[in-house]
């Protein structure tokens, strides 16, 4: 191919897809933001904390472990605010975006028959894939930044008896963004392989559910502890992020490697696959 006929980067496709996912992104962002405000609203006074801890004591131990474990105590305000980062609803919302966006953009267009039209214009298959991947990863990091901004806003709205350092929350948000982006890359890989969106979503969700349960079982049953490194969730260690001042570089590298590996594998499959079949 001559350089003269090489297609330019399709910013028009990026913009078109961005406008399509923006309403969903905005809704998820709003919910995550409000959850952070709500959590801070509960934990900013001792009475609220006691009520919350009593409630957590009623739940199975692995739930409390998943939300912060022994760090959840009166006086440890940061760990209590961080519940908003590990709450199942927040995780669900993040994963909804991570799985929904790439499968909607790639498999969704294939299934609707519009991918044939997109690819009949001056856009390469790789560019289509890069647009879907870029929107997924950028969307995920924008969501975790909204999550952090929610915490920032809440600490300005509510008065805490001790000062709350926001830096660990920023680290936790970036680490969480990497986790969600890695899930997004797995979904991108699934979207590259399957023709039907339901199949791609199903495989990505199944992968997530298996990972989550392996993480819970490995945490709850010591004999299964060896499975911990096999789950994605092992690489976002909230208590350690809040306990130690340094960035969790090792965990972040693992997540980045999964993200890059899955994205490249998906890209190769997508490029080699016959479309629109």
């Amino acid at each position: 191919m001559t350089s003269a006929s090489r297609p330019k980067f399709p910013f028009a496709l990026l913009g078109f897809w961005l406008r399509r996912i923006l309403p969903v992104w905005a809704l998820i962002a709003l919910m995550i933001f409000l959850i952070q405000i709500a959590v801070c609203g509960i934990v900013h006074d001792n009475q609220g904390i006691k009520t919350l801890l009593n409630f957590l004591d009623l739940l199975p131990s692995f739930v409390k472990t998943a939300l912060g474990g022994e760090a959840l105590q009166v006086g440890n305000v940061s760990a209590l605010i961080a519940i908003g980062y590990q709450h199942p609803l927040v995780l669900l919302l993040l994963m909804l975006f991570a799985v929904g966006v790439p499968t909607s953009l790639l498999t969704g267009e294939v299934e609707k028959g519009t991918m044939e039209l997109i690819l009949s214009r001056s856009i390469t298959k790789t560019q289509v894939y890069v647009c879907a991947g870029a929107l997924t990863v950028a969307g995920m990091f924008a969501l975790v930044m909204v999550m952090f901004f929610g915490t920032f806003t809440a600490t300005r709205i509510y008065h805490f008896e001790e000062p709350v350092s926001l830096y660990p929350f920023f680290r936790a948000a970036i680490n969480g963004g990497l986790l969600a982006s890695a899930v997004g890359a797995i979904a991108l890989l699934a979207a590259s392989v399957f023709r039907h969106r339901s199949m791609a979503v199903g495989v990505a969700v199944a992968y997530l559910v298996v990972n989550y349960f392996v993480a819970v079982i490995a945490e709850w049953w010591p004999r299964m502890g060896f499975l911990k490194p096999a789950t994605l969730f092992q690489y976002v260690n909230g208590p350690r992020i809040f306990r130690e001042p340094a960035w969790p570089v090792g965990d972040m590298c693992v997540l980045a490697a999964i993200l890059i590996g899955a994205a490249i594998a998906g890209g190769v499959i997508w490029h080699r696959r016959d479309l629109p079949l």
Partner: protein, 316 residues
Amino acid sequence: MNTIEVRSLTKWYGSARGVEDLTFSVEQGEIFGYLGPNGSGKTTTIRCVMGLLRPTGGESRVLGERVVPGRATQHLRIGYLPGDFRIWPGLTARRALGVLAAFGDNDTRTRVRREELAERLDLALDRRVGDLSRGNRQKVGVLYAFQHQPEVLILDEPTSGLDPLVRQIVLDLIRQAADGGATVFLSSHDLSEVSSVCVRAGILREGRLVELAPISNIVQQGERRLKVWFVEGTQVPPLPVDRLPGVRVVEQEPGALHIAYQGTADAVLKWIAQFPVDRIATPQTSLEEAFFRYYRKDACSTAEDNDNTPSGGDGS
């Protein structure tokens, strides 16, 4: 100059054959008809030429550039209408066409041309695509292919679902595009439309090109027709089939005989000359009849013989 060149193009879907060993080319400004029944491999050929499918073997070139699968080879200069045209149903036709145009060069000329074409096809661009009838959705597809005034038009059954009036307008658009220098690759199983706009055509059967020739040659191949009216009162004579091999009666009417023959008319005319003849006509064999010959079971062996040597000869 050849605008589209296909050389030994082969595509297998696993163990199922898509197309096999196709070789042909389409010259600049030509309207090339690509005929074949459903499942014969027309869409597979088109998708390979568009770089949407990765061929198992062979290659194709568009505007002199080798088509690399997935690389949008020369797509800025191609107007493409897929056989199964589907577009975002939630968008208005204008918005959907604007989005697709923006994936290339959405200049003022394209927008003006879009409006002109919509008016000519009587299409309401402000309606949601999902609310349009099948015929109107197909009009959107036609607009999509023509709106940026491409140098090459690759149209997969463009008049499918259109009423006869609109069909005529679309065929006029195709002729005008070719008159303006555009090359048109027209896939269809509507034989009348191919014969009305194309000078040359290729016929596909089970993934193989069984004919590649000017339309007139395709029509004239095989059987030819004679209709003889005898002088009033003449008993129509029985045809001596045993003495006239390759001749058969198509239809017998009072005082007239419709004969089909193969080869030269010499023997038939000599036989007819024995009787008082009022007049003779040579009805045109329709493209349909010629086309069906390629798909009749008894034509299979003949077609197989032609597989590697389409009558186009030079493949152009």
